[in-house]
Symmetry: D2
Subunit: 359 residues, 4 copies
């Protein structure tokens, strides 16, 4: 941490700041300069509120240096986190795809989708049983009935289930069915929910909040990690800006710094990010090229009659074409994408990084 004094600050003001720092149990390092004095602070600064020093007389500003997250940081954990599930792997050279409808509508469409996906080598199904909706009058999901449908689809096809957890009440029910639990963008800073999810015996897919900085996002991951759940997958899904040409502004530029600052795998959701099926394909390809570890993508057998988000869902034909395009780029980018070969993709080279063998 660094305190920058005003150019006209008096020796008394500087002394008061030095004393305040010592009173916090920290060590001040005054650096007199040509026009002003700056004071470095060493010690455990995580516990203090930097703005307390900022309002002392003579202080121009206070600059935080240490990143507040630890377990999520690359500095503490140099190797990539790799999360292995029976259906597939998140991290390393895998480009893993989670596809399916926005919400569980009925059993036949879920099973049909799951079978179609498995046949193409896509081994994770996304579908919401509990749906966060802006309007209280909109379809809110089938709830427990939806979970039951997902459970049966899993039994019949072996597909991995990714579904959203909206509250602590339904946590046990969700973690029984889900192979990966999704925390939605609106709940990224629902800390009670994060604390509960930290105790779930399942990997967590943590979507970025609509106005979350990378640091805040990693801090929410830190809630999960410090609560005992080491299997966290980040998911960029678009942020809110002035731009009005798409539903949200899909921030692919967060991928390189997220990879530099953290060891966690990161997926991209081009469906919510753009809000229009015509724009999903190019953004999915761009996510792969930018270094993402996979996609969360809306696919629906009949998007024009979907109960929610049909406009941003791909039908099977479009999705199949996209899979082919992804495959054509994966080789040059040294990534492995799902293929209909029926076998799980495997990497010939030995994998590095922490690996969790689930189930």
């Amino acid at each position: 941490m660094l305190v920058v004094m005003q150019s006209h600050s008096t020796p008394e003001q500087i002394d008061r700041v030095l004393a305040a720092i010592r009173q916090m149990g920290l060590t001040p390092h005054p650096m007199p300069g040509a026009t002003r004095t700056a004071i470095g602070i060493t010690g455990n600064t995580a516990a203090i509120d930097p703005r307390t020093l900022e309002v002392l007389p003579g202080v121009l500003e206070l600059i935080r240096v240490t990143k507040p997250y630890k377990l999520a940081s690359r500095e503490m954990h140099a190797d990539d986190t790799v999360i292995r599930l029976p259906q597939g792997t998140f991290g390393q050279r895998h480009f893993t795809i989670i596809a399916g409808p926005c919400s569980v509508e009925d059993e036949s469409m879920i099973v049909r989708t799951a079978e179609w996906l498995m046949a193409r080598g896509v081994r994770f199904l996304r579908a919401g049983a509990f749906k966060p909706r802006t309007s209280p009058y909109a379809f809110q999901g089938l709830g427990l009935d939806g979970l039951e449908i997902l459970r049966r689809a899993r039994e019949r096809t072996g597909i991995g289930i990714v579904t959203e957890l909206m509250d602590t009440e339904s946590a046990s029910a969700v973690e029984e069915v889900a192979d990966v639990i999704q925390i939605g963008a609106r709940n990224m800073q629902n800390f009670s929910l994060l604390r509960r999810a930290a105790r779930a015996p399942r990997p967590i897919l943590l979507k970025r909040g609509m106005a979350a900085t990378l640091e805040e996002w990693l801090m929410s991951a830190e809630y999960l990690l410090s609560g005992g759940n080491r299997d966290v997958i980040l998911c960029e899904r678009g942020v809110r800006t002035f731009s009005d040409h798409s539903r949200n502004t899909l921030d692919l530029s967060v991928i390189p710094p997220a990879k530099a600052l953290s060891h966690l795998p990161i997926l991209v959701d081009p469906s919510h990010g753009t809000g229009r099926r015509d724009y999903v394909g190019p953004m999915a390809l761009a996510a792969l090229a930018a270094g993402a570890d996979g996609l969360l993508i809306e696919v629906h057998p009949d998007p024009d009659h979907a109960l929610s988000d049909g406009a941003q869902s791909l039908d099977f034909d479009r999705f199949e074409r996209l899979l082919a395009q992804l495959e054509s780029l994966a080789g040059p980018l040294r990534r492995v994408v799902p293929s209909p070969a029926g076998n799980l993709p495997s990497l010939t080279s030995p994998e590095s990084g922490r690996c969790t063998d689930r189930h």
Copy 2:
């Protein structure tokens, strides 16, 4: 709702859109123009996802007309909502102030603050027992012990308690102690929490999310209203923008449109909005001038040693000066602010609007 066709759209494309609209049980109104056709839609359009039509061939864009909120709208409810509690009133010509520390630290500071506030005529105390914190390592509040402290402060001084509800587990405990329940900005779209709060027998102070549009904010109010709780107070607390001169960008400009579109009272939180105590006073005065119905403001007996948010808290001296300034502006603006007279402020003219006499 209005469908705008592309200028080169074919009659067949137009017919397909007309059919799709009829299939939804709605009535299309084609309007051929010089360069293109637009199609008005009447009927109950709330249930459909507009983007479904938007991706049909030949459609340029789809424009929603009806506001999706009803109970929160001025159109449905022309008169201002007025919420009367024994300690004071929200709405109409009252400018009601809720003051206190960010978090409950111990009983003596809470009681001392409550007594000081009551002596100045400020009859609502804010203080968090449960604190949403970005970092898992930061002070998370005293929890149930904090609630107990608030309960005792209420008993000893008669002050009204405003405190945050973070999850459904603690809802019963919070609603027993609180006179007004606060929903924080990060939980504005925690719909499970909103549904629970809708059943609480207490008014809800609903803070605006950091990236929430006015419409989304009113939709979250609609969750509360449609769930049975008619006593909703809005609270602007700063939104997230590129601006870096303050902690958030306090959006006072939302007040006139919120008043035009909705009947709900609206407060302003200049403490979180600015993040620095030097800026709190001017923004509090500006909130009064802009038409807000009151303030939620951080006041602490000893801000330099506060456990959280000390930098944005006023000490008693500064707050007393601010109260005097607010009072000097209230007269010209025809507003009633808290005064140390000991009596509740009362208005001589008969009040209009829906009034809820609580307790």
Copy 3:
């Protein structure tokens, strides 16, 4: 400036950074800490690009400390700048109003507006002869004919003219007519224009760019100040955010930090800031309460038939009511607003600050 090393940085990496700093002619101050080393830098750091150090191996980040503006800063110039013109004063306790139509439409409406304003004590007329318009097909202003109309209005009524300068070609013509030259938001970083305006013998009203930070805004003021023009008036007019309830997001919260960091007077334009005449009044009152030094406001004899921006213009009746409201708040806020007394407002106490007597 402060270089923060990664926690695993090697002594060699630290040495390379120290050498790079010395090679720039600056002095490094290494501060070894528990988990990492930080390196303070003193000397003239204005000339270097901080990001050059940031990409050296082992560097986590580089933090700039010194503010890059000097002449615009409160640190270099403690007293408020006060700009005195025959028609009125900007700065100190004056709340000065510049009113008029968006654009010069014809002579009679300009003269009629000028006479009406002067009769109410508003002694500055705003009206654009050159208009920056998003669309090439929109009315672009009367150009030199518009300037001539403004010149005649000035002669007939004595009112001060505030009009926009859009390019260097028209600079001589504009500075001949204008008492205050306006630089529009879209040109805030048109550095060629700023360099020309710095040589104009007139005060400059510098509007904030739609996405400008406070620092960038003050840097643009620095172009004017360092180029020789000491009479710079800032003008907040709304910034671009995700918010869609008004045309722009009027950022009143910039006023306190602008006053803290700079000595320049600051006006507010509630017309462009909101885009709707219903919202202009509350925001104008809030600007006064927040500490602004005046208003730039659109007033039109017949807004419903204005050639541009009619929807955000007040008619004379509304404006007169607003003036009365402003006056009722000015006393408690210890501000002087224009009054129809016919005399220039004067302050009984001796004024401090740098004063420029123009003309």
Copy 4:
């Protein structure tokens, strides 16, 4: 255009709106609905200010339907614009790269860079002679001397020159040297400059403003197109948001809608978009995958000693690796990237679209 009336609007209010529309020479189409009336408007609505109707009594809101740009729109011009220059082509299946240092520093580094680029098949050099800088104290470019250096590099190597035009004064000098004239982000709405550039006999590279919507960007293109210059190349370079992990937020998601709404080629500048050389490569690959028509990218022989923007510049080695990666993706994406073969890339299939053969 569509006027939406409030649900309680009276027949008289509706009649007044109908009359106002007719008075503008337009045709109103009233659509009575269950809860309110909407009024469609046909005719030439481009000239009117929609907000004029919006403030009439009983009007809830006014919704614009027609896009305000024409010549830039895909609707008016279905085929892609293709711009052919002797050094290369913008548009169609070409992925064209413009590379070089931020600013012209001296002749040897420019010639060295140009020779190196030509040897790799990159046939456009970017370098600023006139530099827009936030600070008046920063290096402002070599000016006319810089142009002369560029002219000589062009003569010696045959490379195409892309350089920025900052003001009308230097327009003749710039257009003599440049093969493509760049308009910078800060000048995207400098309409005097756009009008001048519209008359230049050179293609214009129009960077997106930091807070420009896609519509505003296309409107600025419309200034160029309607002024007579049909050769406009768009360039996305990052927009301003709350995100702080990179210098700007590179908005790759603008590419699909820009391609859908307009026929103009679009490049991406990953250097300004990210501000850090580590992030440039992934974003360049993502731009190609997202459908961009090329790159504007900073390459410098010795980035650590660059006079400006060194931290975001690639050195030759890094750039060479990036070129190889781009080439490996180009095939699957059916794009042609520059190759060191010495021949201009050519396409075997006949090209569609308007083609301009320059020189």
